[in-house]
Subunit: 396 residues, 4 copies
């Protein structure tokens, strides 16, 4: 094993860090931000700065305008980007677009890539992934998928309801998961301006960091051509697996960066605010919280790095990404909650960025599979396989 980071990657990390500090953080107070995320105008400014810095779409291959980073390198870069809520938007690696680009690059036809991946990678358009449905449809349990796509000549006609569709408002591309009767779950590509796609409303959410917020969508006889199937009819779930682990993991990377920011703010406060005769950080009630933050972030980073490495070996990393999702989402939650507590009154107000990170991050224990579903899936794996001792860090 080797835990070192290569010199070129360290240099890239430094470049991103500098870019975030000098080009992105100053925009955090830009007024073009609201309950449903940063506005398109602000996003354009951010994209432009990243392009100028040569940091746009680092996860996409150079052929489509990106940097072609490995999962390992993404772990380094995305954490740096996450240090500002605007960082992932600038680098064009926010959710769900980052995962959608990854999926398109892996699965789409060359024509589909030209039409959708290229403008996405250039930051010209945005996209959404239409999977989650209101009751009694598919929430945590994907097998409850209720949206249907019925073959009609060369087309499919899609009907159904979706919600929590991140980025829907303002998106150009929709990737839609629907059941083709007789074949099963299938992914379709559609232009959000198509007749039959109705954004009913944008939901009020605790988080305010995703461009476009979270939409409620109705498909009302949406007509999609067979050529717009992504992957193959009936293989929606298996192709979506390609997106699954990396998308989970990039959330982990970005949020780790976010809580590192919260932690730095808390450390700074703990050094300078006095109470009961000394800097509050010298009271163990505060100091231990900082130490626990340090340990939580350290473990989280290692778990992310390990999973990224497994992905880089060509493995789907379903088990590793389940572990990472639970470990990291719960660790970052503890970290930001401690930061709120350490900051006291400041922590629950807009006086620092910490409250914003706090509300932005809560949903991460829920989306991409709530902790409970991942725990259950890990348990099933443990109960099924022979009681073999861990094969250490080789992918399994």
């Amino acid at each position: 094993m080797d835990f070192s980071i290569s010199e070129p990657l360290l240099a890239l990390q430094q470049r991103v860090r500098t870019f975030i500090r000098e080009e992105v953080i100053p925009l955090e107070s830009d007024c073009r931000q609201g309950p449903h995320g940063p506005e398109e105008g602000l996003r354009r400014v951010l994209i432009e700065r990243a392009r100028a810095a040569g940091l746009l779409s680092p996860h996409v291959s150079p052929h489509y305008g990106g940097m072609g980073l490995s999962h390992h390198a993404r772990a380094v870069v995305f954490e740096e980007a996450g240090y500002s809520p605007l960082g992932p938007i600038a680098l064009n690696i926010f959710a769900p677009d980052e995962g959608n680009m990854h999926l398109l690059e892996a699965v789409a036809t060359p024509a589909q890539k030209e039409r959708w991946l290229r403008p996405l990678a250039l930051g010209e358009i945005r996209s959404c992934f239409c999977m989650t449905e209101p009751a009694p449809g598919a929430g945590s349990d994907p097998r409850m998928l209720a949206t249907t796509a019925v073959r009609d000549g060369d087309d499919y006609v899609i009907n159904g309801s979706k919600w929590f569709i991140t980025g829907a408002n303002g998106a150009t591309l929709a990737i839609i998961m629907a059941v083709v009767p007789g074949s099963g779950a299938t992914m379709f590509l559609a232009d959000m301006s198509a007749k039959g796609i109705v954004i009913e409303r944008t939901m009020d959410s605790l988080d305010t960091c995703f461009p476009g917020g979270h939409g409620v969508i109705r498909f009302d006889h949406l007509r999609v051509a067979a050529a717009d199937i992504l992957g193959a009819e009936g293989s929606g779930f298996s192709f979506a697996q390609i997106r699954l682990s990396p998308a989970r993991l990039t959330h982990c990377m970005r949020w780790l960066g976010a809580v590192r920011r919260a932690h730095d703010i808390a450390v700074d406060y703990a050094r300078h605010r006095h109470a009961f005769g000394r800097p509050i950080g010298e009271h163990e009630g505060v100091g231990f919280g900082l130490a626990d933050n340090d340990m939580d972030m350290h473990s989280a980073r290692l778990v992310i790095m390990h999973c990224a490495w497994v992905l880089d070996q060509g493995d789907l990393a379903l088990r590793e990404s389940s572990r990472a999702k639970v470990i990291v989402s719960e660790a970052v939650w503890r970290v930001v909650d401690r930061c709120v507590q350490i900051l006291g009154g400041r922590g629950v107000t807009g006086e620092s960025l910490v409250a914003r990170i706090f509300t932005d991050i809560r949903a991460f224990r829920i989306y991409d599979g709530p902790s409970e579903v991942h725990r259950w899936s890990l348990a099933k794996h443990l109960l099924k396989s022979p009681p073999s001792p861990e094969k250490h860090h080789a992918p399994d």
Copy 2:
């Protein structure tokens, strides 16, 4: 010991419960609510309804228009009121006004009571308590009080900065804690319209349930007459102790009601939402969360009731209220966090009331003494006293 609730109190509990359900909850969707709390117009409607129902200011003596409830009875009634974020406003028992009325009734002169307590108890005006200061002033450590009140003839001239002053915006009465050089901390009563009181801004806060939000205030040569001292010069902290335990405890009562609401919503959801072949409540990952909620609320309620009983015995209950503050604030936080998790995506959006309770309640682990300060104070008590076994539930 006797854990029964008297018949009249059970009847009152039922009346409040009905009032909240029928008169208050329907107003939760009233648009007159914003980031800095419900507006005055909505508050007036609520107050009017409570007055009509005979439920206004239950903690104030009948002489000043209230119901004269014991602390024990308050525990029952305030929990019911807390079931809606608007309930405490309707009954005129929200913070800080409820505690301010309690303090005025215990300490103020008859003239002061007529001038301030009476209109407060009738819900005609609002008040604020100006204690907390920005660094390097008094935060968790009250001895760092930096605001001064200097004698000048028959008056005092007050200078200093305060923040996190709940309800400042729209308040008529300010209770101000300031240091009189040579005498020590002293409380003053002032009209918020007085020259020398400047509300610099209202803070952005996670909670949105307090009328007037949380203000930043500057006292700029504010002149207060000696007759407007509350209590006596130099005795600010000792008189404030009268407010301390009850105010902590009524927070506990109201927030317990709030998370009972969240829990009821979660139980209802767990019964009706299906995943993986059954109602999600039948999955232990969800059901155990509900059971833990039940146990947390049960313990919290008992601890509140015990502390209320100690207060009713005439004790200051400093130790009991420290315990209650930590136990209850941490228990209700766990409860609402579990409810968010159980509701999944709904839990982090405005689709239910739970997200609002979640953001409203976080600060409770911080105000009225953060958990860390209470733990330290409990530890000091344990280390100081002789190692006597607990005298059970007699006040100690």
Copy 3:
């Protein structure tokens, strides 16, 4: 509500406290203790001292030689007794005998009481409760009961295996749970010297506080007369419910006393041991632990008292005792674990009593229903009943 303890009960509490301190604690270093509990000779000495002090069998009615205490009074007295591992043995209120006496007094025929209850209450004999079975029999799930009792003339012939039978070794009376084909679970009374009862071995267990330890028993054509049925054929589970809640709760009472002892030892140590320039208790890492102990014990005591009160109202208190079992068993575990940590090296050795309490108490999260089973049962209750708000502290 009223949290006061009556004067006579306070006096009794004081008597028990003095008795434990002066008559019982000095015997803690008596060598007649081993891995399978205190020996009979030591038990006799303890019983004799309690009899002389007028404190024997406080839970049994005076008619059979006890003090006839209410559940509430037991809560006070048993906690005091639990302050020493030998206290419950002295007062004749250790498990399983205390619960067995309770059951016999409630269910047995007058003849059965004369034969078994009287000598038990006088401390002349010991008893065991033969319920738990090795796989694939009844463990956490009582419906898996595999021991059978087949009618044969006026007798029943019992066959089966039991384990974790506390007190089996040295017991005179066995209460046996077995399935009568066609009727269901039934309880039988038998003399342990009867032909057909084989104690195969005594198990090695973490706890060493139960006289007789935990036995593995085989019933090999054990013949029991119909007159030795306890209760009625087929009603074993329903009659056992009478034992259920009180037995759970008295465990809570005794173990609360035990961890109060550990806490007192830890407080004393935290006052006197210095490190890094001051008594270790003044380091928040230690002081906060003491404060958490204080709060855990406070909540636990209130939950016990409440459940005792519900039992005193004549209720079975199944839900309340489930709550109490989980809340208290987990709270006392946290307390003793913190004490171990505070004592450092001393905590993991025989240098103080804490290590013994630590190993004695671990099993309490498992026996009388592991936490998981109680959580599940609480969840079922929550999901089944209409979503009614808590009826506070009236039994429900």
Copy 4:
């Protein structure tokens, strides 16, 4: 970064695994084990088997009879050895001997190495490290060292008391930390048979896995030659630092192996024991516990591996080993506690190995610095340094 394990190391891992399973585990039921650890006769058998298998003293350089493994390779091998409580004894890598050999190899003179390291590495003798003192001496705070070594001609005369001296009983070599007035803490090598070394008693401890148990020692005018100083006069603490991080970390490695064993036992039980209609592992209350075990062990292993890598870079890894100590000691504790709970009654008895691992492991949260001291030291580091973002996994 690279998380793969080299082929030769995987092969060695497999060899150790097989050795533990076939040569060591069968000896776990050997009767030559008691409250103060395995007896010398059993140790000799184990050593002999490891020698025959070519696995003796893997951490020592080949020159002195070992395998010369890197810290990284030790992580792999020691975890495998820890899978049995007897494994570390067989491989001659138990505490404190493993750390003592490491220290001697790094610091001792050639003559000292010949005299002490060689027979230690061959498993011919045992050793102890005499640091910890009873109050008011050095416990968690090494600066309170009270044992003195006073120069007298060419000798030093040592007086003082030590306790928790692991392995003292039966050891041949003692490494003694004592204060030389005017110079400071100094390490001395002494033969345990020397006049002036009195083993007063062996302590009763929760753990029973260390050969020789934990001794209380008195130095009564022990005379040691200047040539027997280890390192240099006054440099005891700085030289001991060489031992510090590796010794902490090898504890982590061994205990991780131990809880992996407990976990495997729990998984096996969860598959085969039925309750409430299915294998208990299919109840989430149990299955989630297994999943949490899996995640805790995964994080722990990564943190160990990272720290080992930092050590292999030549760094003292004080901060990394503090983190690892806290993270791993608390994770393995959670794991084994969950295993106890899953096993139910079996978990708290000798019916499986889990109870033994449970009691063996508790002290690990205390020795080599209790969690509280490491948290404080981590906090100090955070508060001191400039708020630089983490340099990832490069040593810092």
